[in-house]
């Protein structure tokens, strides 16, 4: 018994050791990024590397936020992500309601088309989408970002919400039907309130995807004042190849809110990521 206990301890110790090693590998790049963001530029490539800056300065954050307009880009990203999330969650929850709760001819066909959208890599469509945005006069506009982000997120969101809506017991809905409630009322007063966790998960993922999206914004946005954070950071780095301090201050501004939200809501995140995989 004693032997078993000490062996179990050793195994646990080994687990923790290996996991800690991995954790160090995961965290060191971020730690170094943060360190650099607090260093004056002349020390960004100093050897040996300093993980704790000798003379820490917040000048990079100040320069990034005000004189390099990252404050503005932050607001742009936020606005686009909020609008994208609102539009996409609303439209996909309505579609998911129809697919899971209503019967109508063409249901299988339309759902099949939705699955096609799920399988096609988005980047493959960038040329025709660019031509379409040009025709619709959506180039160089926030609306051009929101329309394509929201439209691009519909297939996955509808798919996830549909499987969640299907698990809501039919009896509740039938009771409402008996009371004379129409589909809109059932959607608003039954399905949506019961699906808050699923809606939150889908909203978080849509928001994140919009917040991080790079290539579409890079392609259609020309006006520097309309940049979102990802393209602003990449273009800034391309222009001032050695201003690593400001690049990483801006990066921290973009990334830290996301990490904070993730840590706060990580149960919901992990649930959302694994739901499809393990169930299916």
């Amino acid at each position: 018994m004693v032997v078993g206990k000490s062996r179990a301890r050793a195994v646990l110790g080994l687990r923790l050791l290996l996991l800690s090693l991995g954790a160090v590998v995961m965290i060191v790049p971020f730690a170094y990024m943060l360190a650099t963001s607090f260093k004056p530029n002349s020390l960004a490539l100093e050897v040996p590397p300093q993980f704790i800056p000798r003379d820490p300065t917040i000048a990079n954050y100040r320069d990034a936020w005000s004189s390099n307009h990252f404050g503005r880009y932050f607001v742009n990203s936020l606005g686009v992500a909020v609008a994208t999330t609102a539009v996409s969650v609303l439209l996909s929850s309505m579609m998911a309601f129809a697919f899971s709760r209503l019967r109508f001819p063409g249901r299988r066909l339309l759902f099949g088309l939705l699955l096609v959208g799920l399988m096609v890599p988005t980047m493959m469509l960038i040329v025709p989408q660019f031509l379409l945005a040009k025709q619709l006069v959506l180039l160089d506009s926030y609306l051009g970002l929101v329309v394509f982000y929201a439209g691009g997120a519909l297939a996955l969101n509808t798919f996830l919400l549909r499987s969640f809506f299907q698990d809501i017991p039919r009896e509740l809905e039938e009771a409402m039907v008996v009371d004379g409630a129409g589909p809109w009322k059932r959607y608003r007063q039954l399905i949506l309130p019961l699906s808050r966790p699923a809606l939150a998960t889908v909203a978080i993922f849509t928001f994140l995807a919009s917040w991080d999206e790079f290539v579409w914004a890079l392609t259609i946005i020309n006006d520097p004042s309309k940049r979102t954070l990802p393209i602003a950071i990449a273009l800034f780095q391309g222009q001032y190849a050695t201003s690593w301090g400001i690049v990483f201050a801006a990066s921290a501004i973009a990334v830290l809110p996301v990490i904070a939200i993730f840590v706060a809501l990580q149960r919901q995140f992990i649930g959302g990521i694994t739901a499809g995989a393990v169930k299916g």
Binding site: P29, L91, F99, M119, I126, A277
Partner: protein
Amino acid sequence: MVAAYLFLAPGFVLFALVILYPIARALQISLHEWAIVPGIASEFVGLRNYTRALDDPIFWRALVNTGFYMAVTVPVQIVLGLAAAVLLDARMPGRIFFRTLYYIPVITSWVVVSLLFRYLFITDGGLVNWTLTDGIHLTDQNISWLGGRWTALAAVSILGIWKGIGWSMVIFLAALQAVPHELHEASAVDGAGAWGRFRTVSLPAIRPVVAFVTILLVIGGFNVFTSVFLITAGGPNDATQVLLTYMYRQAFTFLDFGYASSISFILTAIVFVLSLAQLRLFRRPGEPR
């Protein structure tokens, strides 16, 4: 019944406009020498954009580079992700902490981590070279990581693995936790050790999940773009182009929309065939088709 279509219409119209219609358009564009100047008709060239790819050495290099990225990142992410999941699949302190930590690179934007790795892999003064020379004395010469094809692809692959491990780990962990305890206990009673139980109980039980993860990783690997675009931009001299960076260059640097679309379609076809092949490969012997 009308209500159903009213619920569907707003979303489906938008979906059809920005996804379905562009799919059809991509095919059409790929069959044309696309004229970008308004008013000039595009010339129908049949499959010429596709045959052009077959004769284009940079296309082949991009294909090989993409394949290299996939072949390196997929197995390593599966093995390390599974290893981390097995380590975490036990009653122990700090489980949530480790799971959260490993997942942070996954939720971090590709733009930020790409620039970060570009910075870490700088030749003179980069953290990686400093570690290899002064840190562990593996070499006394700084490696010009981003100056050569294979070293640059290695750097990009390391980024892909680092960023992806958390994702496969989280999914494997959820699958391992769903394996019934009784199976492990029965196997232990039969005298199986930890490794034996892993091989005979856990692995078969999570096989469908392994298949799922593998297929998605292969698709993701073939779609590598932002990291290459921001770390090497396909250079030096197109040495590190991958399919999507080359497609993007053809489209928005050379404005050759027809050729770019044909590259997109070839990529999609490859991904589709690989996914089907894996579905067959992962099917259990004797399972219905």
